[in-house]
């Protein structure tokens, strides 16, 4: 047959199926990993059992992670977590991470090499698209799709069309992957990649750390994207070396792949970005933010709760104090990140600065606990969403930015450029 070039999304599905596919095809594919958390898994477990399923397709390929209401916020959340625990133990789930052993799934799974390049992954959490940074076709589904995939090891997809985003240029100091993706969502809108694959490439992606790439893929869903993919390169191989639990499979798009559109982004012109309430697309460059006093700053989440994020925050908070009447909440995304932050002295820096540091959890990102906002309060957060009521009261305002802007703003008490805190000239 006449072979059209394939995008990375098409290549990943084709490799799994052993035949070419193209955008628009409806395919049923075996999955390499299925994932659920303490909010979504209990609903899936109820469906799984009600359908009469007696065993999971492969206990090695199911991950169940307690992350959202951890440690239990109240009796009801404790009951939900125990539904997951009972199921995980009964079915000998290999990648079961109860409270204290894991953290937020989207940081944990890449960190432990549980998800690898080339994988097909469905997870009952919208930020499952994070693993696209490894070159894995990973997407969020609901609890019923999770139940079906846990029982059968299969799922169905419409092969998505692809938008190509090509980033070039040398970023200014303090401009990170978070700023790349916030700017991208601003360009295309909250539904700009609805049902589509977002493929991130270009010299500026090549120079980006794996952590920053994970941040970018994490927020593909904020533009409605099905997956947010980066083609594996030397940095991917280095990241996976010593951690991948299964052999990674490195795939690349064909040179003649067909894209719906290709968008060029010169990152050398970007400033740090800030998303205003109440959509991730309402992003402005920092110089156009104006005076925004804050009640709280949150550094953490599956978007920006990694060790590299905490190091940047600590560098800015070292020897400084959080502004009077401002709360700073710092939550490492996994227990491993937490331990390393303790060993490196980062936690001491945070506590000396007046921050509250808690065990790994999604916590305030979704208004769960450990830093929920009251009426009319303003928070700058390193997380991914700022919808009405997302972090608590519907009148509270959430602004999204990088860990560097968050730490600087915590010191200043208002949204502030990191360079200003260090007495550097603002580029």
């Amino acid at each position: 047959m006449g072979m059209m070039g394939m995008t990375l999304a098409e290549k990943l599905l084709a490799a799994k199926l052993g035949r070419p596919v193209e955008a628009g095809d409806l395919v049923e594919v075996p999955v390499d990993l299925v994932m659920g958390n303490d909010i979504t898994a209990p609903v899936a477990i109820r469906e799984f059992e009600a359908a009469g399923a007696t065993h999971v397709f492969d206990p090695e390929r199911v991950a169940l992670v307690a992350s959202h209401f951890v440690p239990a916020r109240d009796a009801s959340s404790a009951n939900q977590t125990s539904v997951m625990r009972r199921f995980a133990l009964a079915h000998h789930i290999r990648h079961y991470y109860p409270e204290g052993s894991g953290g937020i799934e989207h940081t944990l799974l890449p960190e432990r090499g549980i998800v690898v390049s080339g994988d097909i992954v469905v997870g009952a959490d919208s930020h499952t698209c994070t693993y696209g940074a490894l070159g894995a076709f990973a997407t969020g589904v609901g609890s019923t799709d999770l139940a079906y995939a846990m029982a059968t090891g299969r799922t169905w997809f419409k092969v998505p069309e692809t938008l190509s985003f090509v980033y070039h240029g040398q970023p200014q100091p303090w401009v990170t992957g978070k700023d790349f993706i916030l700017h991208t969502i601003h360009l295309i809108g909250d539904a700009g990649a609805r049902y589509r694959s977002m493929e991130f490439s270009g010299s500026a992606i090549g120079q980006l750390s794996m952590e920053d790439r994970l941040t970018m893929s994490n927020m593909a869903i904020e533009a409605g994207g099905k997956v947010g993919l980066v083609t594996p390169d030397a940095a991917t191989e280095a990241y996976e070396r010593g951690r991948a639990l299964r052999p990674p499979r490195f795939l690349a798009p064909d040179p003649d792949a067909r894209y719906l559109d290709s968008i060029d982004i010169d990152v050398s012109r970007l400033e740090p970005q800030v998303a205003f309430p109440w959509l991730p697309s309402k992003t402005r460059p920092l110089s156009e933010v104006g005076d925004v006093p804050l009640d709280q700053v949150f550094i953490g989440s599956c978007t920006n709760g990694r060790l590299t994020d905490l190091r940047i925050a600590a560098r800015l908070l070292q020897g400084r104090r959080v502004a009077p009447n401002l709360r700073l909440v710092v939550i490492p995304a996994t227990q491993d990140v937490y331990l390393k932050a303790v060993q490196e002295g980062l936690v001491e820096v945070f506590v000396q600065a007046g921050a509250m540091v808690s065990a790994a959890t999604c916590g305030p990102c979704l208004g769960g606990h450990t830093g929920v906002l009251g009426a009319g309060e303003r928070c700058l957060s390193t997380s991914n969403r700022n919808y009405v009521g997302r972090m608590g009261d519907p009148t509270a305002e959430v602004y999204l930015a990088s860990p560097a802007v968050a730490a600087a703003s915590a010191v200043a008490g208002r949204i502030t450029h990191p360079a200003a805190i260090l007495g550097e000239e603002v580029a």
């Binding site: 409806l26 209401f69 959340s77 969020g140 019923t144 799709d145 079906y148 539904a191 009405v388 009521g389």
Partner: protein, 170 residues
């Protein structure tokens, strides 16, 4: 007579059902909080059988299946919108909550309009304004899934076939 509760673009799953209520999967417990963050008048004033009509990208955000479950629990028979976010759309079909894409209805229906959905005919009737709007047909695969009772009904059939095949072995 069923009324329309009309909202704008990007009605996200956090306003459909805030995360603090996600400690149960029971539609009856979730229903009373449906849309309370967006419009407190909805939980207070809607009647079972009323419709929710949204703009573009309805159900964006989190993958929580609790969102369509809350809508179901609130007694809403279906959601009409100009377009739906991918995960919400899939979840709604999976749990048997009909979702109808109709940019015309999203543009034409106003808050409180009396409407009726004639799914077989593929139209939405607006009695208040005397208008009809076309419903975009579901992709055939999803229509079959919905007609067959959703994804769990399919799983039950597959498991039964598996057991029958195993039972047939010597």
């Amino acid at each position: 007579m069923a009324r329309a509760w009309k909202y704008g673009d990007n009605v996200d799953t956090d306003v459909i059902i805030p995360a603090r209520y996600l400690v149960t999967g029971d539609p009856q417990q979730l229903g009373p909080h449906c849309l309370e963050a967006l419009d407190p008048a909805f939980p207070a004033g809607h009647r079972p059988g009323d419709f929710i009509v949204g703009g573009e990208n309805f159900g964006c955000g989190s993958s929580r299946e609790h969102a369509p479950l809350a809508i179901k629990g609130a007694g809403v028979p279906c959601v009409i919108a100009a377009s739906f976010a991918r995960i919400f759309f899939r979840n709604a079909i999976n749990i048997g909550l009909p979702v109808y894409e109709s940019p015309e209805a999203a543009a034409g229906v106003g808050m409180g309009d009396e409407i009726a959905v004639e799914a077989r005919a593929g139209i939405i009737v607006n009695r208040t304004r005397g208008e009809h709007y076309a419903i975009r047909p579901l992709p055939p695969f999803m229509q079959e899934l919905l007609d067959a009772g959703g994804l769990m009904a399919r799983l039950r059939r597959e498991l039964a076939q598996e057991r029958a095949a195993e039972g047939g072995k010597p």
